[in-house]
């Protein structure tokens, strides 16, 4: 077999093939369908996807119910504004946002020593609301209820950066291609590999053909360059975070998280200080929530109001999770994409079906949607699909096995 490190890298690549494929496809969007509006929307979706992902570490993976997850997110968003306002570079601001998110979550998590479950949820709700209500009054810090404008980072307006990102994309695409080629041992896999490479080639070909009319031809305009760069950076951050989180799930800490969710008393008895491990999870989730907040402030929204720390955002992230499937990692991300996509397009959908006023009913629609998902898909979209899929595979295996099948 291949040498230790190379083999490990290849199997790591194989394990994350879908992540990589999705990343490549998402990054091709600006080339294939260049619309500044849509790129901005999807950039926002990436942000909320990462926010949902960070919440799944806490709720889905570790079974800790926090109703204060908007606090690390919102403080992360403000941290970026504050640090950039202080004249420091963007990267420092992002790190500060992540650290502030982690510290906030750890401060909240200390209550886990005394309370659990719903009581902890109530505590975190109060904790986050206190931060929100306090900071909303500090007009000089937060701009009060009308918020502040977080400036677009200068370096992201550089058209040359687009080529750097395109380069990263090309490397990722080559990785996918290599994987498809080298991993195909069966006939079916080889057919899929060829199909995949053809699709990839078609997309790139179309992008090149489209070059004249695409945003790429207007790269000299700072706003175009910024939108593209922000899109690539947001995609990169979200997919990299997703990889790190899924990698963490397979590490010893990930196993501990799952077992704490299953039976925390027993975990204590077999020798784990469950409180400390919960705190570590809160810290890690806070890091990613802070990063999502940073993306919100400087890549996706720019207008930051104290609302980002309020329970509205916590309820949103809860909605994404329940909709997508708690504990599945990918579920909450998909949930965030669906909800925010609908939110952005409710007006378009309304005019399409001839009821333009439907946008006024957004909260009602989302409420009905929520109830329907809870009733019909109790494990969320991804969770239910995974269970159904597993059941189908089981049935197939049993049927094939029972039918005297061999080989």
């Amino acid at each position: 077999m291949a040498g230790g490190r190379a083999g490990a890298a290849l199997s790591e690549l194989a394990r994350n093939r879908w992540l990589l494929v999705t990343f490549v496809l998402m990054s091709l969007v600006p080339l294939v369908y260049p619309s500044l509006y849509w790129l901005t929307v999807i950039c926002f979706l990436f942000t909320m996807g990462l926010f949902a992902l960070s919440y799944d570490l806490v709720l889905g993976r570790t079974g800790v119910l926090s109703f204060g997850h908007a606090a690390p997110f919102g403080l992360g968003a403000y941290a970026v504004y504050w640090v950039i306002q202080g004249g420091y570079p963007f990267w420092l601001a992002v790190i500060a946002a992540m650290l502030l998110g982690a510290v906030t979550n750890v401060a909240m998590g200390t209550a886990l020593r005394r309370v659990k479950g719903v009581y902890f949820a109530m505590f975190t709700l109060a904790f986050a609301e206190i931060i929100y209500l306090y900071l909303e009054k500090q007009t000089s810090l937060t701009g009060g209820s009308s918020g502040v404008f977080s400036p677009r980072p200068d370096f992201l307006q550089d058209p040359n950066l687009v080529y750097v990102f395109t380069g990263i994309l090309a490397v990722a695409a080559v990785c996918v291609g290599c994987y498809l080629l080298f991993s195909s041992r069966t006939k079916g896999a080889r057919v899929r590999a060829v199909a995949g490479i053809v699709i990839l080639a078609c997309l790139v070909g179309y992008a090149v053909y489209n070059l004249d009319s695409s945003v790429l031809s207007q790269l000299q305009s700072p706003i175009t360059a910024f939108t593209l760069n922000a899109y690539f950076l947001a995609a990169l951050l979200m997919f990299a975070s997703y990889y790190l989180v899924s990698r963490l799930s397979r590490s010893p800490l990930g196993a501990i998280m799952t077992a704490i969710r299953e039976n925390d008393e027993r975990m204590d008895m077999v020798g784990y200080d469950t409180f400390r491990y919960r705190l570590v999870i809160m810290a890690v989730a806070g890091l990613f929530a802070g990063l999502a907040g940073a993306m919100f402030a400087s890549l996706a929204s720019f207008i930051v109001t104290p609302d980002v720390m309020s329970s509205t955002y916590t309820l949103n992230v809860l909605l994404y999770s329940i909709l997508g499937g708690i504990g599945t990692l990918v579920g909450p991300v998909i949930g965030a994409f669906i909800v925010e996509f609908l939110h952005f397009n409710i007006g378009n959908i309304g005019s399409f079906i001839g009821v333009p006023s439907i946008a006024n009913w957004w909260m009602l629609i989302i409420g009905v949607f929520y109830v329907a998902v809870v009733l019909l898909l109790p494990y969320g979209i991804v969770g239910t699909a995974m269970m159904k899929g597993r059941r189908t595979i089981d049935v197939l295996r049993r049927t094939l096995g029972g039918g005297g099948g061999h080989g």
Binding site: S251, P252, E262, M269
Partner: protein, 253 residues
């Protein structure tokens, strides 16, 4: 020569007015199997909880291998070599049988190994080997890929014990290992405990109701009633004890 590895001195626990455990002095010798028996509500499980640090005593001390452990939290006791199974089954129902034991074995690595983000948990050969060995000893080797929730009650009891054994404890506390197990399966659970003794010979402290299990496992028996120790001795002595028979069979006038 057999030294005392687990000792309680005047251990007392009050829940309000109710005295659950009253002034219990217990000495468990290394390598023996010591059973604690008594009618329901005698304070046996509370005694276990006090020893394991789940409940803090009102007064008294717990000494494990010469070290005072009174009031230490359960995870610290686990690190000192105290393993425990539960009266009300405590397993990770949605994980596989192997993972139930593997996660327990993993705790021996300490915080440094457990927080290493670059290592893989589920493919750690060393931990899997340890877990498979333990599962083999309790007789669950062939069930390791199954989800724990579909095991029979007797297999769940064995799994509960296997989780406690994963860190190779020097003292193993078994809270009713045959509880909820159907009569025909009891011998297999007893056999599993015997196998564990043959393999590692941990000091056993056992709560049991079933005479069959006590007779075939225990060297010493402590009888509790209403929180207090009322008799203590070898299994044979206790069997002959009139006072014990009174407690169990009803007080004659």
């Amino acid at each position: 020569m057999a030294e005392v590895v687990l000792r309680t001195e005047g251990l007392t626990k009050r829940f309000g007015e109710k005295v659950a455990v009253s002034n219990v002095d217990l000495s468990v010798k290394a390598g023996t199997c010591h059973a604690v028996v008594g009618p329901n509500g005698a304070g046996k499980s509370t005694l276990f909880n006090l020893i394991c640090g789940v409940v803090k005593p009102t007064s008294g001390r717990v000494v494990v291998e010469g070290k005072e452990t009174t009031g230490l939290p359960p995870h610290k006791l686990a690190a000192l070599g105290v393993g425990r199974s539960f009266q009300v089954l405590s397993i990770f129902a949605n994980l596989t049988v192997l993972e139930n034991v593997r996660i327990a074995a993993q705790s021996a690595g300490g915080a440094r190994a457990n927080l290493n983000p670059f290592s893989f948990a589920y493919s750690n050969r060393k931990l899997i080997d340890v877990s498979e060995e333990v599962l083999g000893v309790v007789g669950l080797a062939d069930k390791s890929p199954l989800p724990a929730s579909i095991l029979t009650p007797s297999d769940k009891r064995k799994l509960d014990m296997a989780i406690a054994l994963a860190r190779k404890p020097t003292i193993l506390l078994l809270d009713e290992p045959t509880g909820g197990v159907s009569i025909e399966d009891i011998p297999s659970v007893i056999e599993a405990v015997k196998n564990v003794r043959r393999k590692w010979n941990p000091t056993l402290l056992l709560i049991e109701h079933k005479m069959e299990a006590i007779k075939s496992l225990a060297d010493y028996v402590t009888v509790m009633d209403r929180g207090a120790v009322i008799a203590e001795g070898t299994t044979n002595e206790i069997e002959q004890d009139e006072h014990v028979q009174e407690v169990y069979l009803g007080r004659t006038a």
